[in-house]
Structure formats: C-alpha cells, structure tokens
C-alpha cells in the first residue's frame, strides 16, 4: 500500500483539542509560523540562557576563529597548554564518589533522512550536524549506560530503514552510521513506519529493561501508510518511551507522541541548543509512577539482582536448537544455570528465568568506581637520588632541564614534565598522565 501523505493540520482535525500553532502544508509561510511558535516555547519553557538566542538561520556570521588567541610570537602553543592545564585541574577537582548507573536500557535512534535534512539553516547542513552529534551522543550514552544497547533506524523515501542492529558495542553502532554516502537524505520521512520498525525490534526484550526511542526529526510532514494514532497506542501499551528532537518546528503529532509515552519533546534553536537538548536525553529517565509488573514492593532506586554470565559458543560449534526461537543455530550463549542455548544477551533465560548478561558489559562502568588517583606534578628533582630517566608508562625520556617557570604560569603543570603517582611513586610524562586518567583508568605502576 503506497504511503498516504498526512500533514499535520490534517492530524489536528482528528484531535478535538485545538492548537494555535497549526502548521501549514505549503512551504512558503511555514518558516515564519514555525519561528513564532518556537520562540514562544523558548520564552515559557526554555532555559534562561537560550531565551535570547535566535534561530540558527536568523543568526549572522559566526567568526569561530576569533576565539583562539595567538601569543606574542604568533604561536598557538600557549593556547594548547592552557587547554591541557585546564583539563588537569578539572580532574583534580572531580569528586571521587561513585556515580549512579542504571540497569539495562534499550534505545532506538530514529534518524530523519528525508530531503528536508539537506537544509543549511544549521551549519554545515542539518544532516551532517545530526550525524556528528549522533556519534558523540552514542559514545557518551554508552559511557553512562554500560549495559545499554542502541539500534538505528532511518526514515527515508517513506519507509523505515534498519541502519544498525541493536548492539551493545559502541564501535559497532558507530560503524553503522560511519558511511555518509549510504545515508544520503532522500524523499519524505515516515514516522509511523519507522516507529513500527523500532517497536518490532524491541518486542523480545526482557521486562526489566527500558525501551526507548529517540527521534531526530527535521521534516514538517510525515508520510504514513495508516493511522499513526494506532501506532501511538501500541507504543503506550508496550511502554516504549519516545523522545523527539525537532530541527524545524513543533508539530502537534510529535508533541502528542512524546507526551503520551512519557518522553521529552524539544525544538532545536541552533547548533549548540541542538546538542544540549540531545545530550539531555543521555541520563536515565526517572522511574515512572506506574507500578511495574515485577511487584510494587521493590525499591526501584537500589536492589540486588541475580545475574548469570554465559559462555559464548563459536560459529563452528555443532548446531543446536535455541530456546528463544526454536531455531537450529551454531552460535549462541549458554545459560550458566540450566545450560539452555540463547541467541543473544542481555535477556532472561526462557527456561530458568535467570537474567543473563555478558560480564564485559558490566565491567565497562568499573572505572567510575575505582578511579586512578590524580598524579602530582613534580616541581623539583632535588632530594631524589636516582631519578627515573624515562616515563614509567611509555618509556619516553624525560627532559633534563626544567623549562623556566615563567612560561608555565599555569598551575598543575610540572616544569620537568613529570607527574608522580601517589601510590607507587613512579614518574609519568604528561601524555601518559592524561591517557592513564582519561582512557586506561589503571596506573601502569601499581595497577590501581
């Protein structure tokens, strides 16, 4: 059945509540109307900092190169050093307390790949900016939700397109949207088709996991084969939370979808605001008041959960029937309690009900629990009998003579380029200091 074009004013007729910001179908006056609406929103809902900001397409030229300052000799060295020092200080100030994590989240990102994404009101284009922010969003999201999984669905030419399968590996998700030319925008978007596709790929998930959809929507129309309100009812029934970031203007149906499913709806004013509202969706959503099927007695804030860590079978193992689909398969996971064969983790074992997760997923968050103590900058080599000649991490030789203190007015930097671990008293170079604290989260000297 060919998709039927439904515009918003049509949808509005369906609902009995009238809205002042009915959007017209024709492209001409749409922007001015959209703008009026969004600025209204900015006044009553937006934060104070975005209040005065105009739409991206209204803003004048931004001279981004003016923010970088050269020093007297025309070098950028000073600016770069400043950035590094700032990073160091920030780390020293960071609280050592454990950060609260959520359990298992499942998210499908709906990317609008319709021709409206080629608009240049956000530089360089809505499409390129969306791709860039989506990549940053995915990295950050996995950092905060180690047990989560993300899938990606595109909206293009009136159909939903599966771009990335649900995966818990950030690299895999990023790879699925790495090739720009495969995602080239085209045609009309279909919200209904895309939501239906996302809904079907989340149908098998265990009860304890969240089901979420985040849509980045640049178009002002949706081109659906049926009644999108039916899809909305199904989503409410499946407890799927839908949040949307609109790039153009508010649409009645979008707001209704978000409100009914408990998600957030916002309209991006400009590039920075777009990123802000997208990244606001990273922290886990607050628990909904609706009592869960698992029982009202459970405190949602903190609990002890039984989890099983499975064994993964290779492709070369003899085929056997899986318990979830009754299909003959070689690959799979074995439940550690009842040895049932399961297709994918995390899930609940169909036989014994054990929650099965892969332990690396849990481990991804442990660096938040046991951070490496900040290294102390070494200010002088006096009193050290046998100073180490090279960095304990990467073996780069240290410089012999300290740089004059004047050029390094920024605090937290060692004139000798040495940073010492308070636990094992080994010296590290500046690069390793940053690398150990930001990436490895484990001191090469003491392993803590």
């Amino acid at each position: 059945m060919p998709p039927r074009r439904i515009n918003d004013s049509y949808m509005d007729v369906d609902s009995d509540e009238s809205d002042v910001s009915i959007l017209d179908d024709d492209a001409g006056p749409r922007k001015s109307k959209g703008k009026g609406k969004a600025i209204d929103r900015g006044r009553d809902k937006g934060k104070s900092k975005v209040k005065e900001q105009p739409y991206a397409w209204e803003a004048s030229y931004v001279r981004s190169w003016d923010t970088v300052q050269e020093d007297e000799r025309g070098s950028l060295q000073g600016a770069v050093q400043d950035l590094i020092a700032r990073g160091r200080r920030k780390r020293l100030l960071a609280p050592a307390a454990a950060i609260r994590r959520t359990i298992i989240r499942h998210l499908i990102i709906l990317l609008d790949l319709s021709s409206s994404m080629m608009d240049r009101d956000m530089r360089p284009t809505r499409f390129d900016l969306t791709l860039q922010y989506t990549r940053e969003f995915i990295t950050e999201w996995f950092d905060q939700n180690p047990l989560g999984q993300i899938g990606i669905v595109g909206m293009r030419s009136g159909i939903g397109e599966r771009i990335g399968e649900m995966s818990g590996n950030p690299q895999e998700v990023l790879k699925s949207i790495s090739e720009r030319h495969k995602l080239e925008p085209n045609g009309e978007p279909s919200l209904q088709n895309a939501i239906e596709m996302a809904r079907s790929s989340m149908s098998h998930l265990p009860t304890h996991s969240s089901r979420e959809i985040i849509a980045i929507f640049g178009s002002l129309t949706t081109c659906d084969p049926g009644n999108i309100h039916d899809t909305l009812d199904e989503c409410v029934k499946d407890r799927i939370r839908i949040s949307m970031v609109a790039l153009a203007a508010e649409m009645k149906i979008c707001r209704e979808i978000c409100d009914k499913t408990g998600g957030q709806f916002s309209v991006a004013l400009n590039e920075g605001h777009f990123k802000d509202i997208l990244f606001e969706l990273i922290p886990p959503p607050a628990q909904r008041a609706v009592p869960r099927a698992s029982g009202p007695g459970i405190n949602p804030a903190a609990d002890l959960m039984v989890m099983g860590f499975p064994t993964r079978l290779p492709v070369t193992s003899p085929p056997a029937l899986c318990v979830c689909h009754s299909e003959l398969k070689s690959e799979g996971f074995l439940c550690p309690r009842c040895s049932a064969k399961i297709c994918d983790v995390p899930t609940d074992c169909d036989i014994c009900g054990l929650m099965i997760v892969s332990s690396p997923h849990l481990a991804r968050s442990y660096h938040h629990l046991f951070p490496v103590k900040p290294y102390q900058p070494v200010m002088t080599m006096e009193g050290v009998a046998y100073p180490a000649s090279a960095c304990h991490g990467c073996a780069v030789p240290f410089r012999e003579i300290a740089t004059p203190a004047g050029s390094l007015a920024t605090d937290g930097m060692s004139p000798l380029g040495r940073y010492r671990c308070p636990e094992c008293s080994n010296d590290f170079c500046g690069d390793c200091d940053v690398f150990v604290h930001d990436v490895v989260h484990c001191c090469p000297g003491c392993g803590k």
């Binding site: 903190a302 609990d303 002890l304 849990l362 991490g393 073996a395 780069v396 690069d431």
Partner: protein, 347 residues
Amino acid sequence: MDKASHLSVILDLSPTQWQLSAQSNVSHPLTLSTFVSHLLAFLNAHMACKDDNSLAVFGALPGKSVMLYSTTTPMDEKAVAADANTYRPFKILDTTITQTILDQIESISDNDVEAPIDIVGALTKSLCYINRVTNPANSRSEDATLLPDPRILIVSVSPDQSSSYISVMNSIFSAQKLKVTIDVCKLHVADSVFLQQAAHLTGGSYISIERPDALLQFLMMSFLPPPSIRQLISVPTQDKIDFRAACFCHKNIVDIGFVCSVCLSIFCQPVPVCSTCQTKFPMKTLLRLKAAHPHTPPPGTPPLRSGTPANSLPRSTSIAPGGTPRQVSNGNPNMLPVARSNTSATR
C-alpha cells in the same frame, strides 16, 4: 599490507611456570631458551615484512613489568659484536632482547619469585607506548594515514589472577578505544578467562597451543599477518568464550553473581550492603534471594567454601562438576579441570 604495523609483544616471564614448562615429564617440554629463539625468529620476520614496521617488547615479571626492547629507543650498537652471517639489525635486536631478558631474570630475588605476574602493568605500559607512537602530534609525518597499525601479542604461561579483573577489563576497553587488536598465545596452562575476553572484545585471536615445541609455526601462521589481512588468510578463531567475571568480595570467578543495581558491583552471595557504594539493599530482596539460594554460605565463610556461586538449582554436570570449587587464584590448578570440562560440554 600497505600500512606499516606496530607490534607490542608482552612476554610472561614467570620463573615458576617456565621451570614447570621445561620439565621433561610434561608432554611437550619447552625451555625458556628455546622459546626465546622461536620468538626471535618471529620478531625478525615481523621486522622483515615491511621497512617501517616497529616493535616493542615488554616483560611481565613477578611483581613488576619492564620494557625489554623498542625500535624507538636508541641502542648502543657498538656493544653488539659484528657477525658476518647475520643481517646486522636482526643481530642487534636479538642480542638486546636476549640480554635484557637475562638481566631481568637474574635480578629477581628469591622472595619475589612467587609474587603474582604483573601482566596488567605490562599491558598498560604497552598501551601507553602505543598511545604515544600512534599519536599524530608525536609523529614525524603529519599524514595520519602513515601512522602504524598497532596490535599487541600476549604470550601467556601463567593462570589468571582474579584480583586483576577490573584492571584487565579497563585495559581491554582502552585497547578498544585505541583500536588496538590484542592477540593471545597461551602456552601449557588452562584457558585464561580474562585473556579470552581480551582477544574477543578487540577482535584478535586467542590460540591455546597444545604443542609448545611447535611454537614458531603457530607464531608465523597465526600472529604474523596484521589484523587487516587476517580475514583473507583465515587465522584460527576462538573456540568458545567464557564470560565469567570475578566477584568483588573474594575475587572468585563466578558464573552467577549478585549485582548491585547502583554501581554494578558483582558479589558471589547476597549481601545486605554494597561494599563499593554503601547502598543498602531492601530486606525483602535479601530474604527472597536467600530463600531461592538456600545453600549460599552466610557472609564471612572463608572464600574457599564460597567458591561455588549460590545456585541450588540442579545444573548439568557436564558444565561444571558439582562439588568443584570454581575458585581460581594465582597458581591454583583448580582452573584446569573446570576449563577442560567446559570444553567437552560443547563438543
């Protein structure tokens, strides 16, 4: 193979394990000196593959880790005697590595011999090193495409130390971030749960060598080609991966654990308060879990007894022999029968 490749080799130089390995009652004995000669042939082959290939060798010793050799550190070439029959760079490489290994082993004091092998230190050092050599800011050429493709090969002879679980996992994730492939070559001892996960998560191969006397062949056929061309020559892949984790309370390796919902710490038995984030768990959950797992030893029981995770439900004996404690600590041979029986279960 248009891109240069960087190889970091981590050698497990545990005196105890190499002593065991050289004993003649082992099915295929391999002495440390034979091992080094096989390894040097492999390293020379790596250097010969491409002019720009680089190499770093790290040693994991009891209680410490050292860098044994790297192509970027300047060598005192005059100290190496000339040999008309050997290509000189190979000669320098061979002599330096042999000498540093000897020096390091000599320097191990008798008290240190039993200390745990610092595989984590060697792994993090190699990551720091790779971070430096692959950083475009530090390279001579501005072109990022000319930076070498990094990978790590771990030659392991010691069993897992469950106390290093978190550090190993952190290293694995940073290797993922740096796009470093970790290959694991396991000699003699039973499979390492952590190194299996390392190879699996970074896309490397984990090969447990049953004939250590044929080591060179395994090294050449499986670990010489860089990851980019491995798909074409079908390197042996991992048989099966054990996703077990170590509990935070006793460092036992568990397959069913109790997980704090706030910080995701793993415990081998129901605990009233999370020891990591001090969260108190609801009494109801605790009672329910204790009722469901009646044979769970009460908190405070010695770690050896609580080695079997709380699971009273009948389980297939082919997966784990009923009474075998699944505890694995440094040098504990209990790992061996468990791993073997795991393998047989799937075949």
